[in-house]
């Protein structure tokens, strides 16, 4: 098909003949909807935020704020998109607009549309309680210092309660009462197409594997939060994309007896939400509960997936150290002439081969991440970065420890990111700890082996010397906490570094 159709601010919109590499941001602006701004083009600043009408895990409708600079226009085919222009009702400002203005939340105003959209989705996320500040954690403002914006957010929660009590007429809320249609299949190619560029979105794993096998030039794409950065920053142009966003087999979340299976296409925001809802599960997966708020901003997490994070195999990705420490295993699928799809199981610690190189075969798709049970008793995730929230790691670490009834270390996994060409476990240190009682001596012996396990480099995020020091210091911090017995308290924290 030569066009992309979606609902834009409630009005049917058709994008014709645009390159499949075109982001929604560029398309919106080029077509005169300039309220949505570009601040960075890599999903860091949120000035380009738009709201997507989405289906939550329970099937109900919700608004989700995403970065339109990292969203390909073709990816919103069949969806409902709200921009900052579609929030007010005529001349009547939406409460999130009213409060931003009143609080002094806008100065230059360039980041403001993004904040408004973030607050907008958050306004409808829950019916009571305070607004979650994380909802605006992915929006950067250079003028205000955030205090008035934070205050606007706090006031919004009160206004929401009042408006709900008064049953104020709200078409945005009314929309949420109705169903969200499922994502349609897409096979888009512009008519004026010098090169045969396509965007394909299949609706089953069978079809996805078939396309992957037959058309290997179509780059598999999940949320796009990493790949589209390359399109924007390096002007990389793809001949085509295979969007895995509508493949139901990648959307599973199964808490089984043997393992927790997280579909490769489940957004990190959804993982976070499910861990929050299933308290028993969340309490036993402290690693992920600590990781997710630090992983990136919620704007990114709403689109980002473990499948994408592992598939790009960045040595500084935050998912790998946590999942390596949890002993995760990957399920990979490919086309099979006889059975349609064949599966392969690869332990995560055998998945990363070299810098940005994985065991994934060119025709394979990551289906699922499995975290084996029983989950480790003691889990901790650490992240060292220049900025505490929403930054890329200088060093990240996931540590787990199980003690047997005698107090001996039954299992230890110490995984690091940012200190080698791939995310990596400190296997020699782990081995030296297993079977030992946790004493100053055994911990020190493990520490003496630790430095030699990694080969960090200097870059703009930190020096190799600092990274080497952090390998040891995070180990110290972990064992200090374990030995001081304040581990329960430590694991209840949600942020790394300073708590």
């Amino acid at each position: 098909m030569p066009e992309i159709r979606f609902l834009l601010n409630g009005v049917p919109h058709v994008a014709r003949d645009i390159d499949p590499n075109t982001t929604l941001l560029d398309h919106l602006r080029a077509s005169g909807r300039t309220g949505t701004k570009e601040g960075c083009g890599e999903g860091e600043c949120g000035a380009c935020a738009v709201a997507l009408l989405s289906r939550g895990p329970d099937g109900t409708a919700r608004y989700e704020t995403v970065n339109s600079c990292l969203l390909l226009t073709a990816a919103v085919a069949g969806r409902e998109v709200l921009t900052v222009e579609g929030i007010a009702q005529g001349d009547v400002l939406h409460p999130c607009q009213e409060e931003m203005a009143r609080a002094g939340g806008s100065q230059c105003g360039y980041c403001t549309p993004g904040f408004v959209v973030s607050l907008f989705s958050e306004y409808y996320r829950a019916k009571s309680g305070p607004l979650d500040e994380e909802s605006i954690g992915g929006n950067l403002c250079r003028c205000t210092g955030y205090r008035p914006i934070r205050e606007a957010g706090q006031r919004l929660a009160q206004i929401r309660a009042k408006q709900l009590a008064a049953r104020t007429d709200d078409p945005h809320r009314a929309r949420l009462a109705k169903a969200v249609p499922p994502l349609p299949a897409v096979d888009y190619a512009p008519l004026a197409n010098n090169q045969p560029r396509r965007f394909v979105r299949p609706l089953s794993l069978l079809e996805a594997c078939r396309v992957r096998a037959k058309e290997p030039h179509l780059v598999p794409l999940s949320g796009g939060t990493d790949l589209v950065v390359e399109l924007n920053q390096r002007h990389r142009r793809l001949d085509g994309m295979l969007s895995l966003e509508a493949v139901p087999e990648l959307k599973t979340f199964e808490n089984g007896k043997q393992h927790l299976a997280i579909g490769a296409g489940v957004s990190l925001a959804e993982v976070e939400e499910r861990l929050h809802q299933d308290k028993a599960l969340g309490d036993h997966l402290v690693m992920l509960k600590e990781l997710l708020p630090l992983f990136s901003s919620r704007l990114i997490r709403t689109r980002a997936t473990f499948g994408g994070n592992l598939g790009t195999a960045s040595p500084i990705g935050d998912g790998p150290p946590a999942l390596l420490a949890l002993g995760a295993e990957l399920v990979l699928a490919k086309h099979d002439d006889q059975y349609g799809v064949s599966l392969r199981f690869v332990p995560l610690d055998q998945f990363f081969l070299d810098y940005r190189k994985t065991a994934l075969e060119p025709d394979e798709i990551i289906v699922e991440v499995r975290i084996p049970k029983p989950f480790p008793e003691i889990q901790r995730f650490f992240k060292v970065s220049k900025r505490r929230m929403d930054d890329i790691s200088t060093v990240a670490a996931g540590f787990v420890l199980d003690l047997d009834p005698r107090g001996l270390v039954a299992r230890a996994r110490l995984a690091y990111g940012g200190v080698a060409a791939t995310p990596k476990r400190a296997t020699r240190t782990e081995t030296s700890l297993v079977g030992k009682r946790l004493t100053a001596e055994s911990v020190a012996r493990g520490r003496s082996l630790l430095a030699a396990e990694f080969s960090p480099i200097d870059d703009h995020r930190g020096s190799g010397a600092y990274r080497r020091a952090m390998v040891l210091r995070l180990y110290d911090k972990f064992f200090d906490e374990v030995r001081q017995g304040d581990f329960t308290e430590a694991t209840a924290r949600t942020s790394g570094g300073v708590s």
Partner: protein, 805 residues
């Protein structure tokens, strides 16, 4: 200049209905709906719009030996490739000195005919195309060859090579060498202060079009439309009257658009003239990082002599800034650093010298504070070192050295209102519960080996006025229409700082009408000519006063008309909220609109210009003496931080600020400047780190690698307040400039981190605590390691902590 504020009967004739009220930004409703237009938002409104994209040199310093643009030109959609050959005027955009080639040109001296590359990513050609996509593709096909040359990339490199933009400047008072020699204590030190990317959310953007007369209209995101006009005229070979610059509003400026917008405006103008089609140039974030200048990195070296109480007796301070490849504003930035090397402290014997280095990097430029912050970081480094080497609490040493009434600065400007800093200091210490918290923190730190807190208070004194005297002038043009609606034009630009909000309030009150009746128009060089940059925090001081002047002229004319209508002497006519009545007789009234209409029919001129120039200021550069500043803005901040000894990561846990904004015209706007300035300063001093590699490539050239403060950095407790009873005589409505001064309140963050680092010392330690600037988590970690390692050297019985409590 203005009529008396009170009539003969004493009733206030001048309205203060709007001035002083905490109203939201005048464009807030447009901001929150996305309706506010910025330069690049105009793009889709033009048909046949062209887009420009640069082809950039991959060397910091080189000769460009060959350029071949044929493949670029052959790219589908490419209309034109601009190179040095296409410049119809001068190939130079330098604002201060003609040392900024728009395209590479041969160095002076005739050594070679090859163009010289002066910094990494310098554009060698601009590809103009039907789409950005085609322009980018074309730019990637520009073929060039280079002969690489050795590059000077740091202040140290420049010092070794003798590469400078300026001679050594000096300001001196007393006999610092003798005073240091005679002092009971002496120490020396140095600090390398990092630069800062402006990271205005709106990157550089411009759209140019030509009219039938061959004149160019340039929409530009510029803080200085007149200079953009001048430079476009220079590059295109046009008269200034043939160039009109319009500025709608900026998505942030912070100084980064004072001079730096001009090259992009020039490219767009060249293309528009050459093709006859409107042309847009908008940098993406990475190009903006690579091409445009930043806050100057500085190296400060000092020697100080002081007594046992920490009173400073003599200081020698040497400042070297990294100006980048061209002079730009490096000279006045350096000057302001030297002027502010005292911060709020009386330094009886001092010599401060300074020089701007020339390096092969982007040309560093104005950035909120304009050198002041660097000078102040340096003297705070001195104060802290003095305190720690004596084992005295830093806040006590700071307090002992504050200016007192009757003191004058090192350039002999009397510090007229020195009592104000003492008032701020004591009020803030009391409000922030400083003493109690300090002892609580010491207690906490003594029980917490790996997590330490730090608390610090630092003052701010900041001089207001452009140091270039002629810049201290402004004009306005106010137009009344027959229905009583108003257009206000002035030479200032709006970048979020609230200038338009304040001039709106000033105009509405001066005319006695509602805010809704007034629109402050986009800034245009054909409305008010020959303007100054909107900079130096002086936007409202200058433009606000000019607007008030114009409005008062009009009101006087209207008072005559209204007097005739109401049968009262003009002196008894009161203008209030759109109604014009006779003093004391509210029933005897007509509407403002009726007065305007009558005035038109009476052939009374319904528009007026206004003008303002700052009085009293003067400066003798040679002598280093004068009154460069009309007045000083004051403030102080108390910051508490928590530092993790494992990683060096830290969090700001509480901030208290008391800032002097005079009698605020727009308190919500001013509070926003205070909080926002603080946050921006905190970013500069902590996590915003510019990293260049050995080839001169900026490695932190986007938001993912260069970390602005995010919501997570907003202190959970953030109490900022404007000083009360602080009217400033001689300034419009008693207000004070507020754009820049609060940035330097953030020095308290740096000093609080240093206090926490110091607490990691295992024993008492009488020595300065070195802390790199910016103090990223890594730098804090190394500072902690250094402090931990000094255990053996210090054996003093009494510790700094003991003396504090």
């Amino acid at each position: 200049m203005s009529s008396p504020d009170r009539s003969a009967s004493g009733e206030p004739r001048l309205d203060r209905t709007h001035v002083g009220r905490p109203i939201p930004h005048e464009s807030a409703a447009l901001h929150v709906t996305g309706a506010a237009l910025y330069t690049d938002d105009l793009g889709p409104r033009f048909v046949n719009l062209l887009h420009g994209w640069p082809a950039c040199a991959p060397h910091a310093h080189a000769y460009l030996t060959r350029v071949d643009v044929s493949a670029a030109r052959a790219t589908p959609g490419v209309v034109l490739v601009l190179t040095a050959d296409d410049v119809t005027g001068e190939n130079d955009t330098g604002a201060s000195r003609k040392d900024e080639p728009l395209f590479p040109r041969p160095p002076e001296g005739g050594k070679t005919a090859w163009g010289e590359i002066l910094y990494h990513s310098m554009p060698i050609a601009w590809v103009i195309a039907d789409s950005v996509e085609a322009a980018k593709l074309g730019a990637s096909r520009v073929i060039a060859e280079y002969q690489p040359l050795p590059a000077i990339l740091t202040v140290s490199d420049a010092e070794r090579s003798g590469s400078f933009h300026t001679e050594i400047e000096r300001i001196r008072r007393g006999e610092p060498e003798c005073a240091i020699h005679a002092a009971a204590h002496r120490l020396t030190g140095s600090v390398d202060i990092g630069g800062q990317e402006h990271f205005y959310l709106e990157t550089h953007a411009t759209i140019a079009l030509v009219d039938e007369a061959g004149s160019v209209l340039v929409h530009a995101s510029t803080q200085h439309p007149t200079e953009t006009q001048d430079i476009v005229a220079r590059v295109c070979g046009l008269s200034k009257s043939q160039v009109i610059v319009q500025q709608l509003r900026m998505g942030g400026g912070f100084g980064g658009k004072e001079t730096q917008a001009n090259p992009y405006a020039s490219i767009a103008a060249l293309s528009a003239i050459k093709t006859g089609r409107p042309t847009r140039v908008r940098l993406d974030r990475m190009r903006d990082f690579q091409l445009s200048g930043k806050r100057h990195p500085f190296r400060a070296t000092f020697e100080v002599g002081f007594d046992a109480h920490g009173k400073i007796e003599g200081v020698l301070m040497d400042l070297v800034s990294d100006g980048g490849f061209s002079l730009d504003l490096s000279f006045p930035v350096l000057g302001r650093a030297m002027f502010h090397a005292d911060n709020a402290y009386f330094l009886p014997n001092i010599q401060v010298s300074g020089r701007a280095a020339k390096t092969h990097k982007c040309s560093n430029t104005a950035f909120r504070g304009f050198g002041g912050p660097q000078g102040m970081v340096a003297i705070e480094e001195v104060l802290d070192a003095v305190a720690r080497s004596l084992g005295l609490p830093p806040h006590t040493v700071r307090e002992r050295n504050l200016y007192a009434q009757g003191d004058s600065t090192h350039y002999e400007q009397p510090v007229d209102d020195a009592e104000r800093i003492h008032r701020i200091w004591s009020e803030l210490k009391r409000e922030s519960d400083f003493d109690r918290r300090l002892s609580a923190i010491e207690d906490l730190n003594s029980h917490s080996p790996m997590l330490k807190r730090g608390l610090a208070i630092t003052p701010v004194k900041f001089g207001i006025s452009f140091t270039a005297k002629y810049y201290n002038q402004a004009g306005a043009l106010v137009l009344l229409y027959k229905d009583g609606s108003v257009h206000v034009n002035h030479g200032g630009t709006e970048m979020g700082q609230g200038l338009y909000t304040k001039t709106l309030q000033i105009a509405a009150d001066a005319l006695g009408i509602e805010l809704e009746a007034v629109r402050v128009m986009p800034t245009r060089t054909d409305k008010v000519p020959n303007t100054s940059a909107t900079a130096a925090s002086a936007g409202t001081d200058l433009n606000g006063a000019a607007v008030k002047n114009a409005c008062e002229t009009l009101r006087e004319r209207l008072a005559d008309v209204a007097g005739r209508m109401l049968g009262a002497p003009p002196g008894d006519v009161v203008f209030h909220r759109g109604v014009v009545h006779v003093l004391g007789k509210r029933e005897k009234a007509v509407t403002f609109a009726d007065v305007c209409d009558r005035a038109y029919h009476d052939r009374v001129q319904l528009w007026a210009s206004g003008f303002y120039k700052t009085p009293l200021i003067h400066w003798d550069q040679k002598a280093g003496r004068g009154r460069p500043f009309y007045y000083f803005a004051w403030g102080a901040a108390v910051t508490e931080v928590e530092v993790d000894g494992y990683t060096g990561m830290y969090a700001i846990t509480r901030v208290d600020i008391l800032h002097d904004a005079g009698s605020s015209i727009s308190p919500l706007v001013d509070l926003g400047q205070v909080e926002g300035g603080f946050a921006q300063g905190a970013g500069w001093l902590t996590q915003e780190e510019l990293v260049w590699d050995a080839a001169g490539v900026l490695k932190t050239s986007n938001a993912s690698t260069y970390k602005l403060p995010s919501l997570g950095e907003c202190p959970p407790v953030f109490n900022a307040r404007l000083l009360e009873r602080a009217a400033q005589p001689g300034v419009v409505h008693g207000s004070k400039a507020v754009g820049e001064p609060p940035l330097m309140l953030a020095i308290s963050v740096r000093e609080a981190i240093r206090a926490a680092v110091a607490a990691f010392a295992p024993k008492s330690r009488l020595a300065p605590v070195a802390l790199a600037c910016p103090s990223t988590a890594e730098h804090v970690y190394w500072a902690i390691e250094t402090v931990r390692a000094t255990q053996a050297e210090t054996t003093e019985e009494h510790s700094a902590i003991a003396e504090r409590s």
